[in-house]
Amino acid sequence: MIRDRTWGSRLTDIGLLVILITITLTCVLPIWYTLVLSLSSNSAAASGQVWLWPVGFNLNAYTQILKDTQFFGSFWISVQRVALGAALNFVVVLLMAYPLSRTSRQFRARGILMWILVFCMLFNGGLIPLYLTVKQLGMLNSIWALVLVGGAQTLVFNVILTVNFFRNLPKELDEAALVDGAGPWYSLIKIYLPLAVPVLATITLFSIVYHWNEFLYGLIFMTREQYYPLQTYIQQMVVSVDPSTMSEDQYRRLSELSNRTLDAAKIFVAMLPVMIVYPFLQRYFIHGITLGSVKE
C-alpha cells in the first residue's frame, strides 16, 4: 500500500493511534480493576475507595482461595467438562459435517437432515422435560449431563459452520478422491481432516469457551454443590438473596460470608485459564471463522 505522507496524513495516523489505544484500554481496564480489587483490603473495597491501584495491598483473598476445597473441586469439574465436551464435539461435528457437506445430488437426504438440525436449534420444550430426560438417564450429578446437554445445544451451530467450510473447499478434491477409488471414510480422514484444521480449531475453541462459561445447567442438573462447575459456583456466590425467605440464623451466616475482595479474586482466577489459552489458538480460528462463513 503506497500512500503519500503528508502532514495531514500523519495527523490522521496519530489520531487513529490514540483512538485505537483508548478503545483497547477499555477492554483491559475492567479486568485490571478486578485484579486490583482482589488485592485490596476488604474494608477499602466495600466502601468503594479502590480504583486503579490496590488500597491496603494484601494477598489474603488468594490464600483463602487456596484453602477453599470447593473452589478447586469446581475448577476441576470445569476442566473435565471442557476436555470431554470439546473432544466429543470435535469428533461428532467432523463426522456429521462431512456427509452433510455433500451436494444434494451426492446425498439425497441432506436437505431434510439439515432442516432437522435447524429445528433442533430453535425448538425446545423448556427445562422441565430436559430435567426429566436427564434424570431418567441417571445422569443427575454426572458430568455427562453438563457435557451432553450443553453440547447438544451448540452442536448444530458448529456443524453448520463446518459444513460451510467443507463446501468451500475446491471441488477437485472430491473428484481426485473418486478417481483414486477412495471411499467416504478414506476421504474424510485422509483428505478433509488435514484441511479442516482451522475450522476444527475454531469449533473447539467455541466449545471450550461455551463449556467453561455456561452456568445454568450446573444449577439445574447438579443436586449438590460439590458437583457444581466453576461458573455455577461463582454465580450463586454473587447473587443477592431475599431475607424474608430465610430464618434469622441463615441470614446471619449469609451476611458474614459477603466478601468483595474474595469474590473478585475468585472471578479473576476463573478468568485465567481462558486468558491463557485463547492467544495460542487464535492463529487457527481466524481462518476457521472466515473460511466457514465467507464465500470467496
Binding site: 500512500r3 478503545i23 480493576y33 480489587l37 456429521m96 451426492q106 430453535l122 425446545n124 423448556g126
Partner: protein, 296 residues
Amino acid sequence: MRIKGFDKHYYLMLLPGYLWLIVFSIIPMFGIAISFQYFNPGKGIFGSDWAGLEHFRYMFVLKDTREVFVNTLIIAVLKIVTNLVVPLVFALMLNELRQMILKRWIQTVVYLPHFLSWVILGGIVLDIFSYNGPINQLGALLGFKPVLFFAQAELFPWLVVGSDVWKEFGFNTIIYLAALTGINPALYEAAGMDGAGRWRSLWHITLPGIQTTVVLLAVLSLGNVLNAGFDQIFNLYNPLVYSTGDIIDTWVYRTGLLNLQYELATAVGLLKSVIGFILISISYYLAYRLINYRIF
C-alpha cells in the same frame, strides 16, 4: 454425482450426532405439550387435562407478553446493528495502522472480553457503573451528579447493547479484517497512482471489497432477532428495569421455574421458537436470493 453404497456410510457417520440430538433435543420437545394443558405435575405430561388454547389466549391479553416481545426485539435489533457497524469501523481503523506489531497486539487484546462469561462480566459491569463506581467518580470530577445507571429503565437497553458491543466487537473485527486482507493490493496501488487519497480509496475500493461480507453477516444475524441474550440480561437486570429490559428468555425462566406457571412459560417459549423458525427460513431465502449463498 451419487455413488451407490456411499449413503450407508454417510448414515453411519451421522448416527452418533443424530442420536445425541434425539435424546437431548427432540425427546424433551414433548414438554411443548405443557402449553396446551392444565399441567399437573403429579399426573405428568401424559396424564394432565387438556386446556386447548387457553394459555395462548391469556398470553395475548397479558401486558407482560407484549412488553417482553417488544423489549426482546428492540434489544436484539440494536445489538445486531451495532455489532455490524462498530466492528466494521474498528476494523477499518485498524487496517490503516502501519505498526504491524501494535496492530496484532490490539487485535488480540480487544477480543479478550469475548471469552469471558456474563456471570463474571455482569459483576464487573455492575461494579463499574455503581453509585460509587469508577464511572460516577469520573463524572464527579467533571462536575456531574452521580447517576444510578442500572436503575434507569430508559438507559438499560443502551447499557445492555453497549456492554454487549464492548464484549463482542473485537471478535467480529476478526471477520472483517480477514475480508480486508482478501482485497487485492494492486487496486490500492492503482488508486494511489491516480492520486486518490485515503478517503477515496476507502470509499471506492475497501468498502465495495467487503460488501458481500457485510450483507452476509447481516442476513445471518436475522435468526437472532429474538435472542437478546439471556446470560447477559439475567446477570444485569433488576425489577426497576423490567419494563425495558425483561426479555422473553428471562421472563420464561422466571415465570416457569421461579413462579411455577409452567404452562404460560412454555406457551411463550413456543411462540418464540415458531417466530425464530420463520425468521431463519426468511434469512435462508434472502441469503440465497441476494448473494446466492446457501446458509446450510
